[in-house]
């Protein structure tokens, strides 16, 4: 009886479930695959997860409020290409360039919010149109060639390892702390959730729908920009298409973490292990010596299978 109630509680706690799943995969893989369990390899997995985790932070907020942001991939690309171009030469630290790039990313998110809140364009259309627009603009600006980064701060972010911990992971921890606080300890978190679950009831309860949507989408743009910056630092190069893989993975991480794709239910605490799980499975697929096409097919099927196994979307 007690065991049953434990399983029941576990099933009702998707973040914990995803965490346990990650732990299980790690243990099994470490025991069966040579080199998987090495400290350096696990650290590398976490470093890659940080990028997804940071994009998915904004995606979590937007999905919680009942929307979706299909422009995060494009925003990452924009940041990765524009940051080297707009970092002024007179600033040796590179912080001015970072601030400018993040400002642009947040402004793109803000415009998504405006389209959604005031022009009443459905989130899917608004953010998809924004992504298409940005991709076109980038081709015009960058002309298809890769841009190398010289910004000191960004290079540091991508390579520094204070006390052996990559700076990207530290950035992710900070982001996680802030986002968890935002969702669980600040009024806006409860408002976003209420908005996602029942916008009409939330509005009649005095929740400012437009204001909270704007904040949600702006933050999503900001976090995508942050992730783009980290990716640029790790890659040393920005090019058109660099952000593309992160659209699908950010949404998958959110949903794997037990957040309802319909909005109104979930937490970033689930997205964190969701991101790690995604990178881990990608790493495992890479070990199997398959062609790129097959890897993609396997990755897609795996996400589908994971979602089915965890049976996340409870009926309403």
């Amino acid at each position: 009886m007690k065991g049953a109630s434990f399983t029941e509680r576990l099933l009702r706690n998707p973040p914990l479930l995803t965490f346990l799943l990650v732990a299980l995969v790690w243990i099994v893989a470490s025991l069966t695959l040579r080199g998987f369990g090495a400290y350096g390899h696990l650290r590398y997995i976490l470093e890659l997860s940080a990028v997804i985790g940071i994009v998915a932070a904004g995606q979590t907020l937007v999905i919680l409020l009942g929307g979706i942001d299909l422009s995060v991939g494009a925003v990452i690309t924009v940041t990765a290409i524009l940051l080297p171009l707009i970092s002024p030469d007179w600033d040796p630290t590179g912080l001015v360039g970072i601030a400018l790039a993040l400002l642009i990313a947040a402004a793109i998110g803000f415009m998504n919010g405006v389209g959604q809140a005031f022009l009443k364009v459905p989130a899917i259309i608004m953010t998809l149109a924004m992504a298409t627009f940005l991709q076109g603009l980038l081709i015009l600006v960058a002309g298809g060639s890769a841009v190398s980064v010289t910004n000191k701060a960004v290079i540091l972010l991508g390579s520094a390892r204070p006390a052996g911990v990559p700076a990207g992971i530290i950035l992710w921890i900070v982001v996680s702390f802030v986002v968890l606080l935002l969702i669980h300890r600040l009024p806006i978190g409860a408002r976003l959730l209420a908005l996602g679950a029942n916008p009409l009831a939330a509005r009649l309860s005095g929740v400012d729908v437009n204001r909270n949507s704007l904040i949600g989408y702006t933050l999503s743009g900001f976090f995508a920009g942050l992730a783009g910056m980290l990716l640029l630092g790790m890659n040393r190069q920005g090019y058109v298409g660099i952000g593309d893989p992160y659209l699908m993975t950010s949404i998958a991480a959110v949903v794997l973490g037990g957040t309802s794709i319909l909005g109104g239910r979930g937490t970033y605490a689930g997205t964190i292990p969701g991101a790690i799980l995604l990178v881990t499975t990608t790493a495992l697929i890479t070990v199997v010596n398959a062609s790129a096409g097959w890897r993609s097919v396997m990755f897609g099927s795996l996400i589908l299978a994971l979602l089915l196994v965890s049976g996340r979307e409870a009926r309403r």
């Binding site: 029942n198 009409l200 109104g264």
Partner: protein
Amino acid sequence: MDQATPLIEARAVSKAFFGNPVLKGVGIALRPGRVHALLGENGAGKSTLINLLSGALQPDDGEILIDGKPVARLTPASARAAGIAVVQQELSLAAELSIAENIGLGAAPRRFGMIDYGALSRRAAEICGLVGITEPLDLPVGELSLGRRQMVEIAKALFRQPRILILDEPTSSLSAHEVAILSGLVRTLAARGIAILYISHRLNEVQSLCSHVTVLKDGVVTADQSLAEVDAEGLVRLMVGRDPGEVFPPRGTPSGGEELIDIEGFSAGMVHDVSLRARAGEIVGIGGLVGQGQEDFMLGLYGAIDASARRAMIGGRPGPFAHVRAANAAGLAYVPADRKKEGLVLPHSIASNLLLPSLGTLMKHGMRDRAAEAGLVARLAERLTIKGDTSRAVQALSGGNQQKVALAKWLPLVPRVLLLNDPTRGVDVGTKREIYHMLRSFADEGKLILLISSDTPELVHLCDRVVVFREGAVAAELPREAISEEAIVGAAMGLGAKDRAA
């Protein structure tokens, strides 16, 4: 006639959900030509019993007999084939389809495998004449008011020519006029030998229409008898299991408090040119046929829809308000009629629903003060006698308790003007009584209460003053001495006060 074989009978049926028994050995027999009332508080098991009789659920134990023969496994399809039709409380119409298409849905006459629209509209027109639907039959149902949709739902059930008709709170959204039509219809159908099961929280309707009553309390039958043998108080006692006390609280003396609403030439939605003054300490009832602008009036006051006015002071501030937050700041709170869609965030916990309007007021170090919030939730739950764990999803509560949550969540903001849109619809008698007493105590504390109600006795016995709406304007304003069911219904139907005085 009571000796005729029951058309459908449940014998000692039991049903449990996840180990919680909902029905325990319940029996009911519906006989031809009899209007049988089914009463019980919310959560007593009425809906479950209906679902068993209509084949939507299977009993765990006991049996169901049709025409005296046991049925092994009643399914919705076999129930339909046996002539059982249910008019659900939750409407099940397709908003995009026309009235005629909805009425014929799933049972439309066919010719060469295609829907025979000619035959459909002939038969639908016949039935609409019977239930008093005068709208053009090709009108999409989505354009009808809630009350008219309810009538379409009834027409849809009759289209299948049932032998057994189950009406689950058919009058909860009907106007007095429509209730009268429905009552006549029920009598006609009973006279034709149809067995009718009538579920309602309105005891006067039950007493005037039904001849036999089954009372459910906590999943068991506490009474199965002729209605002639029991009076209204007796029925309430059977449902509640204790002496109900006065349903309506005594009215105090009007104190002449501060003027909280003073509007002139107020227009919003279908409401035009309404003037109203109301003071703290009053309960002002808003009556009329369903859909005459009462709701638009409230939403306009609340800043939820665009409104204009020649002059408007609401809660001591110049209005009308541009948005809900401005209305909240002026001390207004609104409790919607549709608590599931508009009043509550159903999948969220009772606690988060209670906290939603007051988020941001209980803060410590710039963050939500969890301890203070828990204290507030506990106090609210206690004051409104919401029992049990407040971390449960609010959708797990019964209708009455949900309504209490929808009301309670505003109390921390100490609203001075409560706008209540039909707060007792679908609420059982015990909880209704609690709500009435609560509203009176709010008024005594110096709040102004505006109350839209589809239940005329509520307007008559609870309110200090009643404003009757008709076609978006005030048709009559009745001071306390002039409030009566006749006066309210008369004004709602468009009879001038002078005509009746003569």
